[in-house]
Every structure is written in structure tokens, then in C-alpha cells.
């Protein structure tokens, strides 16, 4: 049986925050609804109110401010994929957004929803991790800013409290000279949740040595993280295939360290190594 609730659509952020201050514990926030509607349809969603933030202008900017890229939580995947600013300073995120679901899902689904839903397979999370993204959370009583890696505590769990909502995310822009890659594995070519996904940024100096390497892998750890063990293998080295495989093995090792050996490990271990290799090869060995 479908969930029953009352639907509110505030016209300003402050109205939304006031509503949440009063009814936060009884309210589910909805943006694109592409995750929420599934639980509303199955009846799993238990709340008195649903608060629609998708049309709040305050949650919809895409702009540089103080040297950081601010993306409003209600910005859709389609907008992120197409926006000239994201394509310029966060192309790995734009690429990831373009891989989400299907045209219809990208037109509705938002980055804020993707983060708050905190699925281990969320496609925007690895790119946000390599951009050292911070999540800006507001409530009627104030604002707090958290690193994404701290914001998500586990599969589908965040530190968002009743009364709070995500207003935007802040990303360090990708500096010039960096290369980027986003790779994912799925069971089909559209409308398919990622089996695993990888975002990577890399910079090679004039001597052909890797100066900076940032790597994050989705669906292999319970919380988003950067694969520093692999990053360390790569930095200060010249990009070559042997090193890529070494880094890839570090990642799979890390996965097993976090999650132990499971029935899925037989596939996930070689697959995550393969995917990391594919990302690194794409980063350093492909044209352009």
C-alpha cells in the first residue's frame, strides 16, 4: 500500500527551514523524488509530511564563489552534465552525472538527493570525493559544513539531523593541467545502478612524474573514501602500466580489508582492479 502523507512546497529557503524546525522529525524532504518515490510507492516511507525543495531558487545555483565551485542541492544531474561551469572545473562530476540512470532520471534526480540518499553506488560521490567536496547543511538555527567523507556514515546513513537540509556542495575546482577519468561497471548500458564506479584526477609534471593523484571508488567500501594507499603508489612515479596494476591491487586489498571476503568478492576483486586500471589508463595513456 502506498504511503500517505501531506505534501508541502515552500516558496523560499527560510520557509522551508521554518517548516523543518517545526516538523523536522515528521518530514521527509523530496527533491527529484527518484529515490523517495520508490519507498512512497512500496509504503516503506513513514512520515506525516513531504517537503518539496526542488523548486527553491536558493538551492539551484551553479557558480564559483571564493575559489570554490558551489552546486545547489536541487541542481539536477542533467544540469550538472550540461553546465559549462561544471564541465570546465569539475568535468569528472559532469561525466558521472551524465551516466546516472536515464534521461528521465537525470532530468529529475538531484545531486543533493544523491548525496543524502547515500547509496554506496551513488555516481556523484566518487567525483565529489576527488574534489574534496564539502556539504553545506542548514537548519533554522544555523549552518554547518562537513566533508563528504564525514557526512556519509555508512550505506544509506548520513549525519543529517531532523530539521536540517543540504543547501549546496562546495568543490575544489580542477586546476589546469589535471586529467580526469570516470569509469563505471553496470549490468546494462542505461538505467542501471553502478556495480562499482571510479573517479580519478591526476597531474603529471614537466618530467613526466605524477605530482598529484586522487582516486575514489564507489561500492567497495561502506563509506566514501579516497584510496590513499593507491594514490601513494602512484604519486612521484611515472605513469606506467605496472604501477597502475600495483595501485589497482592496493584498492582491492583495501576493499577486502574493509568488507572481508564475501561471495561477491570473487567478482569484485578482479573487477575493481580492472576498473581502477581502466581509469588510470584512461587518465594517463589515452589521447587528450
Amino acid at each position: 500500500m502506498r504511503s500517505r502523507f501531506r505534501y508541502y512546497r515552500p516558496t523560499s529557503l527560510s520557509e522551508a527551514l521554518d517548516f523543518l524546525a517545526l516538523h523536522g522529525t515528521d518530514t521527509a524532504i523530496v527533491a527529484g523524488g527518484t529515490d523517495l518515490m520508490i519507498s512512497a510507492r512500496s509504503g516503506d516511507l513513514q512520515c506525516k509530511y513531504v517537503l518539496d525543495v526542488s523548486r527553491l531558487n536558493e538551492l539551484r545555483p551553479v557558480a564559483m564563489s571564493d575559489g570554490l565551485l558551489a552546486i545547489g542541492s536541487a541542481v539536477t544531474h542533467a544540469e550538472i552534465a550540461a553546465h559549462p561551469v561544471t564541465r570546465d572545473v569539475a568535468p569528472v562530476l559532469a561525466k558521472a552525472a551524465s551516466c546516472v540512470g536515464s534521461t528521465q532520471i537525470r532530468n529529475m534526480g538531484t545531486i543533493g538527493g544523491n548525496i543524502a540518499n547515500a547509496s554506496p553506488a551513488a555516481d556523484t560521490i566518487p567525483p565529489l570525493m576527488v574534489h574534496n567536496a564539502k556539504i553545506v547543511v542548514k537548519s533554522a538555527s544555523g549552518e554547518r559544513v562537513e566533508y563528504l567523507g564525514d557526512f556519509v556514515r555508512g550505506p544509506y546513513v548520513t549525519i543529517l539531523k531532523p530539521g536540517e537540509l543540504i543547501t549546496h556542495v562546495l568543490l575544489e575546482p580542477m586546476m589546469s593541467g589535471y586529467r580526469h577519468s570516470f569509469q563505471r561497471i553496470a549490468r546494462r548500458r542505461a538505467l542501471s545502478i553502478a556495480r562499482m564506479n571510479v573517479a580519478a584526477l591526476g597531474l603529471v609534471d614537466g618530467n613526466g612524474v605524477i605530482q598529484d593523484l586522487r582516486l575514489s571508488v564507489g561500492s567497495v567500501t561502506p563509506r566514501p573514501c579516497r584510496m590513499t594507499v593507491a594514490e601513494d603508489v602512484l604519486t612521484s612515479n611515472k605513469p606506467d602500466k605496472k604501477v597502475f596494476w600495483e595501485a589497482a591491487e592496493k584498492v582491492s586489498h583495501e576493499m577486502v580489508r574493509w568488507s572481508g571476503i564475501r561471495p561477491t568478492t570473487e567478482y569484485k576483486k578482479p573487477a575493481v582492479e580492472g576498473l581502477v586500471y581502466r581509469a588510470l589508463a584512461d587518465l594517463f595513456l589515452s589521447e587528450g
Binding site: I185, R187, R189, K241, W245, E266, A271, G274
Partner: protein
């Protein structure tokens, strides 16, 4: 056939499929769109246990739900609480025990869907769980829990000829492998729906999404204890069926509810319910041993097939027989031993699904052909050519093929693409391998070794218009269009000029099921028979009216003209008026039953089908050994359809067959108790579709209407094995289990990947 008709050119032309425009405009009414005053809703309370006795059933709390109209159990069923197309082993509402998750326990009727769901949630059922069995081989052991009183064996089919054991012993090469396939959901666009009411003549009318209205009529009448003529089934526009709508899904429930509450009742399955409660494709385990000699000719096959039909038979016996009969593929095999054994389990029911077991068998026999080719140093194309059936060949059941054996022609049709693709297949990226695969199939048109006639009527009305009456359910494949084209050709009319009345038991007679790719061949022949009779009557009448010699007459666009004096003629309308005055009937019945014989129970020898369709597909794939991803780039699909009555319809079937075959090959797997809906069940999307090059081969079937056979199921059958062979070509390693999902492909490709890794890391 010399009918004295000027070719209306209705045959072989891609006229627009009937109903296309309405569908594109959104005007089409599907069963779920029907709404009539006072309609109420029925929902089904389903078991959440695979095998359990019902100890207590307490609906008391449901009764206070606003809008509640009734909760009904098997005790309320006035007729015989048994149904099923072949074995009457299903209960509309279970009596004593549930045999699978999803079994119907009670029917709840309320003013609205919501009220019905609410009432349903208040019903208390106490089950006593029984030991359950989910593996068909286990189900056949003595220790297994008994699912049906008669035991867990559904059926067995043996096909035997020659001395296979001896022949295998003396073969130059022998290959033996075991193949498995998964449960597959039909995933038709339109989940099941129906609406029932009792009309002013006291007839129970059921509008439904169905593939077999005349069967529905019988079983609904039986369930309700009504004579058949008190039940009328009207097929609404149907958004796909693929075999699952051959079963009685909602028809019995809405019929019973309307009968009991005396109000119009509707029922629409959610996607989840369609997944939970309708039939699946049978998972098969196939042990396959084949032998061949150095000359590349097959010597013998020895095949064991284990099938899981789940809790109920549905079309399981048809799949048992068809799988066994088709085990040898489109090849001459002098020595054959096939045994198919199907068992009941506590899994969801498996039934008919596009191909009736042949897609699974083709995966096995086509993998075997490539394995043999490799052993013999022959190309996969060559080994198929050497063994392909031809005119004069005998099939595994000992049937001599006398005409329309187009397998060789389909091999020829794809040969150039096959050769090109093998040259072009150099990979462009490290770790990504290209592969090319070929696979062929044979498919017997119509039911296996049994009568399966069709009937039709063609009527010339007093207004001069011709109407076709056919019970054949058009479920999107286009039979209504093709049948009209056949009637048009026979009567010298344009197809547009013919009206049709389709799949309404009050106005049409049985055409049999829309299954087994039979409607073009069998119902097409019934229509042709009726139209030919009418044609003859028209000629006789016209000859009288024109005082002309019959041989000098021709039918064209609704009139009969004198060939020798084309200015002189008489219209169908004038003929109809005269005939009605003289009492001459102008509605004629046609009948056709394919020429078959039953299979011998011991040896499986006989003539199971009157004609066979053939096909060959070439698949080109790209396999990523880093991830296990497979991308199908192109499928070249050649089909011998005898004669394409409507080439565009044939192409449409081929495109859809490739889409479905790709899903079967790579991603479709239904896990009982786990898979819920399209959220966790993957079918191919547009983005997964390869380029499809359909090639229509026409080797006319002398007994077919204008030479036609069928293509509905054949379209799907070679795709999965062609992809499997292409993946094996790419990886130099084979996957023996469908689907070839990420996990299986990555595992199969691990040595290719290691080699590539080695290579890529050298040089440093």
C-alpha cells in the same frame, strides 16, 4: 493456388499494422483503461511461503474496512476449482496448501483498489510450513517433499533413433558439456489486467489482456460451473504476452468476483504482482554429448534435459516435448538419444515463453557445434553447412523434410557478413576483445505432435463489404494485419477494404492459442480456406449474373469483371443483395489443422510439425576482460519464413527477437524470492541494442498460406547462442551458463586478461 484473382498485391507488402495509429496517438484501450459505471476492484491475497498448509484463515478484521465488499476463498468457487492449459493442476484459490510464493489464497473485493488493499492487509493467515524443494533433480528423489499428490514428476519425453552409444564410441571426436539457463520473466510492457461484468443477457463478460480467449472461456466457465455460452471473453488490445498470457492470470479472478458480488469488477496487476504471480521461462540443465567424424559430419548426440516447471505445469509438458524434439538443432543426426525430464518444485510456475524451451536448447546445441568445429579444425560456418538439414533429410523424429528447408539459405545469407566480421574484428583497445559468433535454429510451427486447428469465417455483407472473423489474439505481433492481407489476396481486395472482428468469443470461433508461432501458418490457412470458399460463391453468382464463363471472370477491388470485356462487371454489393434474396449464405467457414502425427511415447518418432522455420544469426561483440562487460555491436539475422506476408512485420519480429535474445544472453535472471520488479531485473534497453540487419529468406512452404510459415519465436532463438559463441571467440573461453553476466564473463576471460596484463607490463 489458382483462384482467378488478379493479384491484389496484398501479400508481400508492408502495409501498416492494424491499430498502429491508435496506439501512437494513445487512443488504444488496454484492459486496464476500461472503466464502467459502478466498477469495483479485486485483489488477491498471495502466499509468502513456498510450501505450507493453511492452518487458519481469519478475514474478520477485513470486514470493517470502508468500501469492503467481500473476501472469498476456494469455498466460494461455484464450479470446479481446477484449471491449467494442459494439466488441470492449478487452483484458482488454494484449498489446503500453498505450493509457491505468490500462490493465491483469497480474493478481496472492495469499492476501490485502496480499500481492497487495506482489507487484504487485515486478513490473518496462519501457515504451517512444509519442507520445500527448489531443485528439480532433488525434487525427483524419494526423500523430496511431495508437491502434488501425483508426485513431483511432471513429464518425460524421449527421442531415440539409431544406435547413439555405438556411434559415439566410434566417432572421431566427442564433446560433452553441461549447460544451464535461468528463470526468465516475460516482462511484457502491459502487466495483466481484466474487467468482468454480467450483461443484460445474464452472460458473464470478461475483457482481458490475453493470448487465448477461447481457452479462457472454457476454464472460466468450468470454474464458475457455467455452460460455456454463458461466458464471453473479449480480448482487449494486448501489450505483449510472450507466452505468459496464455495462462489464466486475471480472467478467473475477475470472473469469479463479478459473479459473486454481481457488480463489474476490475483487476490490474502491478509490475510486482506480474513478476510474482505469472509464469517464467523454464530453467533447463542440459547435459549434451555430441560426436562427429573427421569429415565434419555429426554422428550422434546424447542429451539429457532437466527442467524445473515450478509449482504448476502450465505449458511445462509442451516445453518438455519441444525441447526434446529440437535438441538436435537444424542438423542431420543419424543417431539420437534425448531424454527430457521435467519436475515440479516450490519455485514459481514456469510456462510458455517465446520459443518453448528451444532458445535454451539452441544455446546448448550451438555451443556444441562450435566446440566440435574447433576440435575438427573447421570454421563454425562450415560445420553448420556440412550438417544442415536439406530436402530429403530426416529429422531426429524420423520425419522426412520435403520442402521449405531454408537453413542452408540462411547460412548463405549471413556468410558474407560472417567472413567480413572475422576480418574486421581486430580490437582497438587493450583488454577489450572482439568476437564473432554464428548460431542457427530450427523451429516447428504449431503444437507438438497434436491437433491444433484454427477456424475462421469470411463474410460478404449486404453492403458489399467483406468482414473477417478470427479468434486469433493479436498481442502486438500483427496477426490481425496478416490475416486480413491473406483474405484480401484471396478476394482481390485491398486490405483496407476488409473489416475484421477479432478474438471475441461471442463473434469468433476458436483459432487456438497465439503461441508456437502458429497464427500466420495455421490461422492464415483457415482464413484462406474461408476466403476461397467465398471467392467461389462470388464467382458462381457473378457468372450467373453476367451470363459469363467462370474462367473469364476476375475479382478486383470489390467487383467481378469479365476479362474479355473489362467494361462489364458486377459489384460485390449487387452479388450480396441477390444472394440474400435467394438465401445463399455469404459467410463461410475455413478450417486448417496441420498435418502431424503424435510422437511415439517410447521413441519419440513421428511427425510433430507440418513445417519448420529456420534461421541463422551472426553476432559481433566486444568483451571487456577488465570488467566482464559485453557489448553487442551487430546482429545479422537471416530468417526463412517461407513467405513474408508483411515484410515490415517480419523485420519487427526480428528486431524484438534480437532484443529479447540479447537479454537472455547477457542479463536476464529471475531469482525466486529475490527478484521483485524491473528495479532488480534487467532487460535490454535501447542503449544495449546492437545494429540489427534483418535478412528475410523466402523458401516457400507449399502447405502455407501463399507459402508462409512463421517467425514470432524463431526471431529470438539464435541470438543468445550467437552471442555466446561470439563471447567464446573473443575470450578463447566459453561460458556454459545463461545469462553470461558480468561475473561469468569476467571469470571466463581471466586468462585472456592475465596474458594481456603480462604483455602490457613487459617492456618496462
Amino acid at each position: 493456388m489458382s483462384l482467378g484473382v488478379v493479384r491484389s498485391q496484398a501479400i508481400g507488402t508492408s502495409i501498416e499494422r492494424r491499430g498502429t495509429r491508435a496506439r501512437l496517438r494513445g487512443d488504444t484501450h488496454f484492459a486496464a483503461d476500461l472503466n464502467i459505471a459502478g466498477v469495483v476492484t479485486a485483489v488477491v491475497l498471495r502466499s509468502d511461503r513456498p510450501h505450507a498448509l493453511i492452518r487458519e484463515f481469519d478475514p474478520a478484521a477485513a470486514k470493517s474496512t470502508p468500501g469492503y465488499l467481500g473476501v472469498f476463498t476456494w469455498r466460494d468457487i461455484p464450479g470446479r476449482n481446477r484449471f491449467g492449459i494442459i494439466n488441470k493442476d492449478q487452483e484458482l484459490l488454494v484449498e489446503r496448501k500453498v505450493r509457491c510464493v505468490g500462490d493465491p489464497v483469497a480474493l478481496v473485493v472492495a469499492e476501490t483498489e485502496e480499500a481492497a488493499q487495506r482489507a487484504l492487509s487485515k486478513i490473518r493467515v496462519v501457515y504451517e510450513d512444509l519442507p520445500a524443494v527448489f531443485d528439480p533433480e532433488e525434487a525427483l528423489t524419494d526423500a523430496a517433499p511431495r508437491i502434488h499428490e501425483k508426485g513431483n514428476l511432471l513429464g518425460r519425453r524421449v527421442v531415440r533413433r539409431g544406435s547413439p552409444e555405438e556411434a559415439l564410441k566410434h566417432s572421431d571426436v566427442v564433446v560433452e558439456r553441461t549447460y544451464t539457463t535461468s528463470f526468465v520473466e516475460h516482462a511484457y510492457l502491459e502487466p495483466d489486467a481484466g474487467l468482468a461484468y454480467i450483461d443484460h443477457n445474464d452472460i458473464l463478460v470478461v475483457h482481458a489482456s490475453t493470448q487465448n480467449p477461447h481457452y479462457d472461456q472454457k476454464d472460466v466457465a468450468d470454474l464458475l460451473g457455467l455452460p460455456e455460452d454463458r461466458v464471453r471473453i473479449i480480448q482487449e488490445a494486448t501489450g505483449g504476452g510472450f507466452g505468459s498470457k496464455l495462462d489464466l492470470n486475471v480472467q478467473g479472478f475477475v470472473g469469479l468476483a463479478a459473479f459473486l458480488v454481481q457488480r463489474p469488477v476490475r483487476m490490474v496487476y502491478s509490475r510486482e504482482e506480474a513478476f510474482l504471480a505469472t509464469a517464467k521461462r523454464h530453467p533447463l540443465k542440459i547435459r549434451y554429448k555430441s560426436g562427429a567424424n573427421r569429415d565434419g559430419r555429426l554422428t550422434a548426440v546424447d542429451v539429457t534435459i532437466i527442467g524445473d516447471t515450478g509449482a504448476y505445469a502450465s505449458y511445462g509438458l509442451a516445453v518438455t516435448s519441444r525441447a526434446a524434439v529440437h535438441a538436435t538443432g537444424p542438423y542431420e543426426v543419424p543417431n539420437v538419444s534425448v531424454e527430457a525430464i521435467f519436475a515440479y518444485t516450490n519455485n514459481p510456475m514456469a510456462g510458455a515463453m517465446r520459443g518453448f524451451g528451444v532458445p535454451q536448447m539452441a544455446f546448448a546445441h550451438e555451443s556444441q557445434m562450435d566446440l566440435l568445429a574447433a576440435e575438427l579444425g573447421l570454421s563454425p560456418l562450415e560445420i553448420r553447412r556440412r550438417n544442415a538439414l536439406r530436402i530429403g533429410s530426416q529429422t531426429a523424429t524420423g520425419q522426412y523434410l520435403t520442402a521449405s528447408v531454408g537453413i542452408g539459405a540462411t547460412l548463405d545469407a549471413v556468410a558474407s557478413r560472417w567472413e567480413e566480421a572475422r576480418v574486421e574484428k581486430q580490437s582497438t583497445r587493450a583488454f577489450v576483445r572482439r568476437g564473432v559468433g554464428i548460431a542457427s535454429m530450427i523451429y516447428g510451427i504449431g503444437n507438438t505432435g497434436m491437433q491444433n486447428p484454427s477456424t475462421a469465417q469470411v463474410e460478404l455483407g449486404r453492403d458489399g463489404f467483406v468482414t473477417l472473423y478470427s479468434g486469433a489474439a493479436d498481442i502486438g505481433q500483427g496477426s490481425s494485419t496478416v490475416l486480413v492481407q491473406i483474405a484480401a489476396e484471396a478476394l482481390g481486395l485491398k486490405p483496407d477494404a476488409i473489416r475484421s472482428v477479432i478474438a471475441d468469443t461471442a463473434h469468433t470461433t476458436s483459432a487456438g492459442a497465439t503461441s508456437a508461432s502458429r497464427q500466420t501458418y495455421i490461422s492464415g490457412n483457415a482464413v484462406l480456406d474461408a476466403a476461397t470458399k467465398l471467392h467461389n460463391v462470388i464467382l458462381t453468382e457473378a457468372a450467373m449474373m453476367l451470363k459469363a464463363d467462370r474462367g473469364d471472370l476476375e475479382l478486383r477491388d470489390g467487383s467481378v469483371f469479365l476479362r474479355s470485356d473489362p467494361g462489364k462487371g458486377v459489384s460485390f454489393k449487387d452479388i450480396a443483395e441477390r444472394a440474400s434474396r435467394t438465401g445463399l449464405p455469404l459467410k463461410w467457414q475455413g478450417y486448417f489443422d496441420p498435418d502431424t502425427t503424435p510422437l511415439d511415447p517410447e521413441t519419440g518418432q513421428g511427425r510433430p510439425y507440418a513445417t519448420y522455420a529456420f534461421a541463422t544469426h551472426v553476432a559481433e561483440v566486444e568483451v571487456d576482460s577488465l570488467s566482464g562487460e559485453v557489448r553487442v555491436l551487430k546482429v545479422t539475422a537471416a530468417h526463412d519464413v517461407g513467405r513474408a506476408i508483411n515484410p515490415l512485420n517480419v523485420q519487427g519480429q526480428i528486431y524484438s527477437g534480437v532484443a529479447m535474445g540479447l537479454g537472455l544472453a547477457l542479463m536476464e535472471e529471475f531469482h525466486p524470492g529475490v527478484t521483485e520488479s524491473l528495479k532488480d531485473y534487467h532487460i535490454a534497453t535501447a542503449a544495449d541494442m546492437p545494429a540489427v540487419i534483418p535478412i528475410i529468406v523466402e523458401d516457400p512452404e507449399p502447405t502455407g498460406p501463399f507459402g508462409a510459415k512463421g517467425v514470432g519465436e524463431p526471431a529470438l532463438i539464435p541470438t543468445a547462442p550467437a552471442i555466446a559463441n561470439a563471447v567464446a571467440d573473443a575470450l578463447s573461453a566459453r561460458v556454459y551458463n545463461l545469462p553470461m553476466n558480468l561475473e561469468r564473463v569476467l571469470k571466463a576471460g581471466i586468462s585472456v586478461r592475465s596474458a594481456e596484463k603480462e604483455k602490457s607490463c613487459q617492456g618496462y
